[in-house]
């Protein structure tokens, strides 16, 4: 029984972090109908930035968190403003193939750029949280993962409230629902895209800071998180923050409980099975935007 409880707790905690990683992708996909293939590589770079802040500047990872978030916000801002908006404008009346190709190439460049800049050796920041754990009977709750989960949920809920209650958030949701009508209503499409993308990359930065106490930064780690994020976006529904949170928890639980009772390999397969079933029977996602 303790094994099941341990898996449940671990799955929920890890799922929360997956959700915060994926929510940026969901937002971008929802608002701009754009797939950012460099999503995982952006996380990878954020992990390195977090690592250097913690190891090089001696910062606490949770103190470094807002700084990493701001740096990635700025990165997303400029990338969207000066590159992606132009590509989207070019592909206005068709599928954004240029953006797809660009972000795919950017991901490769980012991965290899990191390899050149930082080398291939994994970098794990040494923090006080590394081996801190709360023992409740036979169950162990790793402190760094618990903190990461809590902060992830707070950010996801905060983002949800932002999208629901603020003028800017409503503008983003309106653009994601119908960009033509949104434009007619006076919403600046370009600025909305910039903000959505920048918020998305900022969330990635926050997630990386949360991962940094227990996850090593390596140049090739982005691909794994990219594929997981896509699954979460599909499960949760594009553009849905709460959907991404739910999707993240589902994926976290499948990987944890599946890994415990089957094997890690089968657990990965199971996530793709759920992904395919969702696409077939509920393509709008578990908590699609239409419901919110």
């Amino acid at each position: 029984m303790f094994v099941f409880i341990q898996s449940l707790i671990d799955g929920i905690m890890q799922g929360g972090v997956y959700a915060s990683i994926a929510v940026g992708l969901s937002l971008v996909f929802g608002v701009m109908r754009m797939i950012n293939w460099s999503h995982g590589e952006t996380l990878m770079w954020s992990l390195f930035i977090a690592y250097f802040m913690i190891s090089g500047l001696g910062m606490d990872p949770y103190v470094a968190l807002p700084f990493v978030g701001i740096i990635m916000f700025i990165w997303g801002f400029f990338l969207q403003k000066f590159v992606l908006n132009k590509l989207l404008a070019r592909d206005k009346n068709r599928e954004p193939i240029s953006v797809l190709l660009f972000t795919a190439g950017l991901g490769i460049a980012m991965a290899n750029g990191a390899l050149m800049a930082f080398g291939a050796v994994p970098k794990l920041a040494k923090t006080a949280y590394a081996s801190m754990a709360i023992e409740a009977g036979s169950t162990i709750i790793v402190v760094s993962k618990l903190i990461s989960f809590c902060i992830s949920v707070i950010f996801c809920v905060g983002l949800y409230i932002f999208l629901q209650k603020t003028e800017t958030g409503r503008a983003m949701r309106a653009t994601s629902q119908n960009r033509v009508v949104a434009k007619l209503m006076g919403i600046n499409e370009q600025k909305t895209y910039i903000l959505a993308f920048a918020i998305g990359t900022a969330m990635i930065g926050v997630s990386a800071a949360l991962l940094s106490p227990y996850f090593p930064a390596t140049p090739m780690i982005g691909e794994g998180f990219s594929s997981r994020s896509f699954i979460i976006v599909v499960l949760g529904g594009k553009g849905s923050v709460l959907g991404a949170l739910a999707g993240g928890l589902v994926v976290g639980l499948i990987l944890s409980i599946g890994g415990q009772y089957l094997s890690s390999s089968y657990a990965e397969v199971l996530t793709f099975v759920v992904f395919v079933l969702t696409l077939l029977f509920r393509p709008s996602g578990l908590l699609s935007k239409e419901k919110e």
């Binding site: 890890q14 460049a109 290899n112 780690i221 997981r228």
Partner: protein
């Protein structure tokens, strides 16, 4: 704006291309996939008294220079480059190294070895580190009758196909598992009350992982132990929690696992977080790299790993070995390790064969290599604790393997206070250094 976009895309492309190319101090040709080559330095002409009748020897080096395994590829390259620099500095025949990047993937490895042999026309190929690529590339070398010396690439099965041109001077899985078990047998003889009896095996879901599983399934049972868990996992883990909780629930006293560096670090730290009281035992991989102990520090205390090399070996070697290590350390900032030493060894064997046969003819090279019989104090083995170097033959296969060095062996290391300490084989030690039993997490 179009200009800015074009510039950004051009920069992205340049960065990607630069990653595949590199410069070197020796007469090294660097080649990006696609075949563009540059030479870093011209070959020297023959000086009088040169041992060979050839101006240069062209050696194809096929390694993972990028990708997940790049850290180890880089280590191996350092050993190869160090040998090459020293050799070329003597004058006379020059070694020209031609790099080929496998990215750690078999399909890329196949393309690259074919390019090395057919386009670059190398005399010999050495590499590729991981067994998956080794298994895919060995038949290509055989097809083109090009001598291919495997570096690491320990999967037994690669050499059970009767390939005449594929050789391995370092250890294979059978020898590694033998050396691992010898330490356990020594421990059981010395301290039977505390000797481990419950074993878990974590293995990568790859050919080599399955080969290793088969080895240790037999070995642990022959030892008299009980295998309480056999768990496959996919490389490039993003979370090792399930592995940690499974091992903890199994009650395994020793967990055998062989992982690449990133997975090794993640598994070690996750086991520490979940206070899994098991001793990680490995046959190398990421566990035997200097970066592993640098990254994990005292968290890895107690971990035991096989390695082809440790600075402790120098105690039983002539002074030249220590001088060589010091020279290497002066240049690369760290002692030799398993990967740098294997790269060095392979180069030493290649050049010894070429000097012995006085030719780079592939068939003659192959025949000379196959008939080698070096004693343990041969200069080529200056860094290694091998009992010699002699390859198994078709008439005398070594555990069904052809062209395996029958005298290859490893040493056992244990992480103590965040550093590697040589703890086996017992015969190589002046005093007992193994810490057993390892402290539980509750007492740390």
């Amino acid at each position: 704006m179009k200009k800015i976009i074009s510039m950004v895309m051009a920069v992205c492309m340049i960065i990607t291309c630069l990653t595949a190319c590199s410069s070197a101090e020796t007469a090294v040709k660097t080649t990006a996939p696609g075949g563009t080559t540059t030479s870093a330095a011209p070959a020297k002409t023959n000086a009088p008294g040169t041992k060979l009748d050839v101006e240069k020897v062209k050696i194809g080096v096929i390694l993972p220079f990028t990708g997940d395994l790049a850290a180890i590829g880089e280590l191996m390259w350092n050993g190869i480059e160090f040998y090459t620099n020293n050799y070329n500095a003597k004058g006379g025949t020059q070694i020209e190294l031609v790099k080929a990047d496998t990215t750690g993937k078999p399909d890329v490895g196949v393309t690259e070895i074919e390019r090395l042999i057919t386009a670059e026309k190398v005399d010999v190929v050495i590499g590729p580190y991981n067994s998956a690529v080794g298994a895919a590339t060995a038949p290509i070398a055989e097809k083109y009758k090009t001598p291919y010396l495997l570096i690491c690439c320990t999967n037994n099965l690669i050499l059970t196909n009767g390939y005449r041109y594929v050789f391995r001077a370092n250890t294979c899985n059978w020898q590694d598992s033998n050396d691992v078990m010898q330490v356990l047998y020594d421990l059981r003889d010395r301290d039977p009350a505390n000797a481990p009896t419950k074993f878990a095996i974590l293995y990568e879901n790859t050919d080599n992982g399955l080969d290793v599983l088969k080895e240790y399934q037999t070995r642990f049972v022959d030892y008299g132990g009980e295998i309480v868990l056999e768990e496959p996992y996919e490389a490039d883990l993003t979370d090792a929690t399930a592995l940690a909780t499974k091992v903890k629930a199994s009650g395994a006293q020793v967990t055998y696992v062989s992982s690449y560096l990133a997975d090794a670090i993640l598994i070690t730290n996750t086991f520490a977080q979940y206070k899994v009281d098991t001793v990680i035992l490995s046959n190398g991989g990421g566990y035997s790299t200097p970066d592993y102990v640098k990254s994990c520090g005292t968290t890895a205390d107690g971990v035991m790993t096989l390695s082809s090399w440790d600075v402790g070996i120098l105690a039983n070697k002539p002074k030249e070995a220590t001088d060589l290590n010091n020279a290497f350390k002066a240049k690369y900032g760290q002692d030799f390790d398993e990967y740098t030493s294997n790269g060095y060894l392979t180069m030493a064997v290649v050049m010894h064969v070429i000097e012995t046969g006085k030719t780079t003819d592939k068939d003659k090279f192959r025949d000379t290599l196959a008939s080698l019989d070096l004693p343990p104090d041969a200069p080529e083995l200056i860094l290694h604790p091998y009992g010699g170097l002699k390859f198994s033959t078709a008439d005398n296969l070594y555990h069904d393997m052809l062209n395996q060095n029958i005298y290859a062996s490893s040493v056992m290391l244990q992480v103590q206070n965040g550093k590697f300490v040589m703890v086996g084989p017992a015969a190589a030690l002046k005093e007992q250094t193994l810490i057993w039993p390892v402290q539980t997490w509750a007492k740390r």
